[in-house]
């Protein structure tokens, strides 16, 4: 088939238009981000304001729901008075140690066992019945058992936290290794990657998103367990602070404890997200 050139146009220079379009896109994105931030601040503030007004006008019982401003001014005592401050710091240090050590131990063990389960079928067969048997148990039910093993005190609490974290991280790591796209394994085999290179560049990165969600779930478990065991054990910690202040009806301090737990959860979640972004920058956010 032949034909004559009917018309031909040289490719126009698009540079000028392009920068305008990029500028617009950038503005749109910045606008969207500002909107997101504004709402993230506005909604909680509105709720607090509603609460404040509700307790001011007697819609809420001041004994159980003191107004936020009262809570803040009351809680500030814990930062202003040296005695109370020292007290608070001790509680914080106790809970922090339990949470930190338990989470770390559980996460490391979970990561290693999860990898082994994911990579080695016989390990998987050997462990799956045990893990599937224990996993559905609420971990708190095992606290008495931990006390029998480790005695009353820090060790049994740390062990229980580690256990809770361990299951979440191990199961998620294993499924990250096992259920990542099989073509990744094919690439590793087809290009004959040496064992360690394969682990470092294929197996682990493919599992990262799943490991990250395991860590997130694990931290949630850890927070529940630390608070609950402190409710019961009665030898200090933020959980003890919450339970004790409730029993003596020092409600503002109870809210202080709640705020501390909430902030810890939020901060940890942000850190884990950040870790996810660092380790898995390819994941669209």
């Amino acid at each position: 088939m032949t034909g004559n050139v009917v018309s031909a146009v040289a490719t126009p220079d698009l540079k000028g238009d392009l920068s305008g379009a990029v500028e617009r896109l950038r503005r749109d994105r910045a606008h969207e981000r500002r909107k997101r931030r504004a709402w993230a601040i506005f909604t909680p503030l509105a709720l607090l304001l509603g609460w404040e007004l509700a307790s001011r006008f007697g819609l809420l019982d001041e004994r159980f729901f003191p107004s936020p401003l009262n809570i803040v001014s009351d809680a500030l005592r814990y930062f202003a008075e040296p005695d109370l401050r020292a007290d608070l710091l001790v509680h914080l240090a106790q809970s922090g140690t339990r949470l930190g050590l338990g989470f770390l131990l559980g996460a490391v063990a979970g990561l290693l066992v999860g990898l082994a389960i994911g990579l080695h079928p016989v390990t998987r067969y050997a462990l799956s019945a045990v893990i599937n048997g224990i996993y559905p148990l609420p971990k708190l039910t095992l606290y008495p058992l931990m006390i029998i093993f480790f005695g009353i005190g820090n060790t049994s609490m740390i062990a229980l936290i580690a256990l809770g974290v361990f299951f979440m991280v191990a199961i998620n790591t294993a499924s990250g290794v096992m259920y990542s796209d099989p073509v990744y394994k094919d690439v590793a085999s087809a290009f004959e990657l040496p064992r360690l290179v394969r682990l470092r560049t294929i197996t682990v990165p493919a599992a990262i998103p799943s490991v990250i969600s395991g860590l997130r779930l694990g931290f949630g478990q850890a927070l529940i367990i630390v608070v609950a065991t402190e409710f019961v054990a009665g030898d200090g910690g933020v959980g003890y602070l919450i339970w004790n202040s409730w029993q003596i009806l020092d409600v503002p301090v109870m809210f202080l404890g709640l705020t501390i737990v909430g902030l810890t959860g939020w901060l940890a979640s942000a850190c884990i997200s950040w870790l996810g972004k660092i380790l898995a920058p390819w994941q669209a956010d």
Partner: protein, 284 residues
């Protein structure tokens, strides 16, 4: 593309049966006899689901469970130690997207070098070469999710070419590309294979593509795949577009088309409850 008489891969009475999830045997390949000669480009065509990918995976060593014998005779002809260390025995381009999403384009290519011992300069030069070849020179730092499907497939092609394999296995490598890019890539591949005397096993469902790139075309029957027909390609065109004007090109294409059409019809008739969508054969 002159091929020598030495056999690169010898396939003898190969049969492949899969076990389906519910425990039935799925007969994918039956009694395949085929010899891929050193320096030869063999194209495999056949209806969807006839076992082309299964055969390629066996040749890649990814699937080692089969009946019959496969003999590889790849690195033997190679000369000194240094050049042996610079080439992989075989490299594969997969049918599905095989880029690693956590690596940039450049790293995706470099991961193929893991087993080779290349010095820095050589590795960098190879990456630059292949990215140039597949038209991705401007994207070495891009992540796969920033590329189109066709671009990702070209990254996979670049990765395989960069390892200078003794045997190159390609599973419908250009299927994800648009028609124009496909022609350009066909030309690039032919050129590079001529230069390097590559041994290539090329799976495609595009008959014209098979005739364009291959020295020999093998037609598989509908599942279970048997060798239905083998044709040498006698065209002499220097370029992809010239090739299409060669009367031999048209004749061979028509002959292959008729053979495959028979297979597709047969498989549709034989599998009344099978998936009709799976038997389509692309004809350009």
């Amino acid at each position: 593309m002159k091929s020598s008489d030495t056999s690169a891969v010898h396939i003898d009475d190969l049969t492949k049966v899969f076990l389906s999830r519910d425990g039935r045997g799925v007969h994918a390949l039956q009694n395949i006899d085929l010899d891929v000669r050193s320096g030869e480009v063999v194209a495999i065509i056949g209806p969807s689901g006839c076992g082309k990918s299964s055969l390629l995976r066996i040749l890649a060593g990814l699937d080692q469970v089969y009946e019959g014998r496969v003999r590889w005779n790849l690195a033997a002809a190679e000369g000194n130690d240094k050049s042996r260390r610079g080439r992989l025995t075989s490299a594969t381009v997969f049918q599905s997207d095989s880029t690693l999403p956590w690596m940039t384009v450049e790293k995706n290519v470099r991961i193929g070098f893991a087993k080779l011992r290349l010095d820095r300069a050589d590795a960098a030069a190879r990456v630059a070469d292949v990215l140039q070849l597949v038209g991705l020179s401007e994207f070495p730092k891009a992540y796969p999710h920033e590329l189109s499907g066709g671009m990702r497939q070209r990254v996979a092609i670049a990765r395989a070419l960069a390892t200078r394999p003794h045997l190159l296995l390609m599973d419908e490598p250009l299927a994800a590309l648009d028609a124009q890019t496909r022609l350009v890539m066909q030309q690039e591949l032919i050129d590079i294979w001529r230069q390097t005397h590559s041994t290539v096993f090329y799976v495609t469902h595009d008959i014209e593509e098979a005739v364009t790139v291959a020295d020999r075309v093998v037609v598989l029957s509908a599942r279970p795949g048997r060798v239905r027909m083998v044709r040498d390609v006698e065209t002499t065109g220097a370029s992809v577009t010239e090739l299409r004007r060669d009367p031999a090109f048209g004749d061979l294409t028509v002959e292959l088309w008729n053979t495959i059409a028979g297979e597709v019809g047969g498989s549709l008739a034989a599998a009344p409850n099978g998936e009709p969508g799976s038997t389509k054969v692309g004809v350009a």
